[in-house]
Amino acid sequence: MNDKIRSLTEVVRELPDKGAEIALGGFAITRCPIAFACELIRQKKTDLTLYEIIGSMDADMLVGAGAVKKLSYGGGSLDRFGRLGRINESIEKGAYDIREYSAFSITLRFTAGALGIPFIPTKTPLGTDIIKNLLAKETDAVIAGHSPFDNEKYIFLRALNPEYAVIHCQYADRKGNVITEGPVWDLELAKSAKKLIVTVDQIVSTETVKRCPEKTIIPSVLTYAVVEVPYGAYPTSTYKNYDYDADALTLYARVNRKQDDFDQWLKEYVLDTKDHNEFLLKMAGLDKLNKIKSDPVFGYAIGGDSRGSK
């Protein structure tokens, strides 16, 4: 269909209550689909199978909320704000099924999936304990092999085509043409999905798309749903639209160290807010939202201090 606009509530409601398979597009503290993750938690989706190339705040929240059954990721952090406390603790405790890749090896699985090839041969990361664990655990997706051309050792990584991918971007039109500014670490992940859901800060006209087609990183053909959620990545940043909120991230990097603190934070900001607008007003307030607006040349807020006011 031409019109792919859906509301956040509606598109999340469509997911199975248990066991949805979702690849998330965030990178540490930028373009993380936070609004989507919060709505998954509000709608009490459980037993999720998650993928994220660089583990980010969204995946950490979902693990902390107990919504995740299995997570495959390439390592991650909250950059200098702190660690992925909920993910790290669950690995230490063996609480969930967590499978660690390197950023590029998991990217290659999406790359193969996006391209429609069955697998991709690579040398990364041969010799590591990462690959040792994957060869033991991910036997249906990671195997050791040889190239028939040079007879050298390679890892064969099976193509990954997750049921859903969710990325947050600056703009899309109602047909699903997606516009992003800045780096596109999540492009192959997005293109590999059976159903790609894009949350965007703003829906723009197709006329806007046609005036700068070189900014369309994903053509409508590959998009399943477009969800307009202004500040949908907050408190992480969306290049040229808004900066990360250093105060909110500092707070999160503190509460995510202990489950109890996290639970309180989750209740206050996610479970007790009915939607992303309430989340925004409670965590930031309109004044802060205006303060983190990006300067169009620099692409981030120039007034503030990147380390936060605390």
Binding site: F27, T30, S77, T107, K123, T124, L126, T128, V184
Partner: protein, 255 residues
Amino acid sequence: MAANRFSTNELMAVTASRLLQDGQNIVVGLGLPQVATLLAKDTHAPNLNIIYEIGVVNAEAVDPGVGLADPRLWYRSEHFTGFVGTLGQILQKGQVDVGFLGALQIDKFGNLNSTLVEEEGRMRHFTGSGGAADIATYAKNIFVIAKHEKRKIVEAVDFITTTGCLQGYETRKEAGLPVCRSITVITNLCVFGLKAGSNILEVKSLHPGVSAESVIENTGFAVDIPADVHITGEPDEKELNLLRTKIDPARMYIK
């Protein structure tokens, strides 16, 4: 340890900087590695290509950022791409000269660990690989900046996140990995490089004022210090000036 004219971090940055050659392609993250790279670019290596794995090439930040995901680091980039563009079409294609890494642990074969570290009798999980494992697989040369403590520079890492020379000798090659020409580890006490043949880290130079004994004492493996070991060269005024006034004026990293 260092003379008062410069801090140890300044010495480390300058040492790394001088090892970079003009025209090289470098994958680097935040912190001292980036400081060293920018210093090289401002002195003898104006044509370095600086690649951030997130998909940014040759940016020129004017504000300090908190990590690769901070748009401050993307300012004045010449190219936006993603992991496929950086770690694939540049790194995996074999065009990265230097991968500049950090780690929680490093062992005598140059293997790094940023995943699982034993602390107080239990395994703690940290950042994991990100692109580090990929960089260590494919970069022609690996630079590491590390803190010199017995529990950080060890006989064998608790978890191999990124490969150095595995178990030394030809084991890296036997594992099917591409050739790694050199591993250079710059600590606050000395500079390590690989010993030919065994591929075990040996001290290439001691920082000014640092004794061989103090290196031995603070290293978790039996370290080889040749009798004729060099003394690490001191920063010059121009380098110190650039570090303090242009590259890290807030002294976030060179303190």
